[in-house]
């Protein structure tokens, strides 16, 4: 049973089992004191095998990579994609209901460091629609 990670995920190196060791990558990062260090991650595209594969699919971190995983999960492709988007929002700290709707609709893709929206592919269309609605109401 296999699953493929959608996005880079931090790894707790203290809990890595021998089977998972080959999957760990190290990337530059900062420690708590802001000193450069190497951070353990599982990179996007990593294939997990076994029970962990199903767990990662259920959380939305991964998608089934073989028929066994897809059967065990029992979700349609749309459900898998929907859960991927839900997880992405959780990981990015997008918890506000209105912001989650905007993210799902492609209006925003996250937040800047100052909390402002990062425009998504539908940002312009969304604001155009708002302006047209306001014009119609006048």
């Amino acid at each position: 049973m296999k699953a493929r990670l959608h996005l880079d995920q931090f790894c707790d190196i203290s809990k890595v089992t021998p089977e998972l060791q080959p999957l760990v990558s190290w990337v530059p990062g900062l420690d708590r004191d802001r000193k450069p260090t190497q951070v353990a991650v599982y990179k996007a595209g990593t294939i997990f095998d076994g029970a962990i594969a199903l767990q990662l699919c259920k959380t939305g971190q991964a998608a089934p990579a073989d028929d066994e995983a897809a059967l065990a999960l029992g979700w349609s492709e749309q459900q898998v994609e929907s859960q991927r988007v839900e997880y992405q929002m959780n990981a990015m700290g997008i918890n506000n209901k209105g912001d989650r709707d905007l993210f799902r609709a492609g209006v925003i893709v996250g937040y800047h460091a100052d909390g402002q929206y990062k425009p998504g592919p539908n940002w312009e269309a969304y604001h155009q629609a708002i302006m047209e609605k306001e014009d119609a109401e006048i």
């Binding site: 900062l30 708590r32 802001r34 959780n90 990981a91 990015m92 700290g93 996250g110 460091a113 909390g115």
Partner: protein, 135 residues
């Protein structure tokens, strides 16, 4: 120069099978109580001002928060599993600053309350007592 960092974008991640997994549907999060421990060293023959000294220990932080509870959610299930079968579990708090800054806490004592009321969604309230140094 200090920046005004928004709360939105802050995330709590729970280690599950070595993978840090975002805790879903959090509506508030608090990391509180980390404090250098002191002891009163005032003596009978001392001056008017009381004195204190470090013990050399640091009181650990506790993490608490609220979420929209989903009984079928994998992470919520895993967290409640830690309440019922306690074991040390690492948690990562990621802030929304430019870096962004992350801190890892070793959780050792867990609690999860659920509440349902006609005018609200199903909600969960969680607490995590931590142990050891923050990394």
């Amino acid at each position: 120069m200090p920046n005004k960092v928004p709360s939105k974008g802050t995330a709590l991640l729970m280690e599950i099978s070595s993978v840090y997994t975002a805790f879903p549907q959090i509506t508030s999060l608090s990391v509180a109580g980390e404090k250098a421990e002191t002891v009163d060293t005032t003596t009978l023959d001392g001056g008017a001002a009381k004195t204190k000294a470090h013990t050399g220990y640091v009181e650990n932080a506790s993490i608490s928060g609220e979420c929209l509870y989903d009984p079928d959610d994998t992470v919520h299930i895993a967290f409640i599993g830690k309440v019922r079968t306690p074991a040390v579990n690492n948690f990562k708090v990621t802030y929304a600053d430019a870096t962004p800054t992350s801190e890892i806490y070793a959780g050792v004592g867990f609690g999860f309350d659920k509440s349902a009321s006609p005018a609200d969604m199903l909600r969960g309230s969680f607490t995590i007592e931590t142990t050891g140094a923050v990394t």
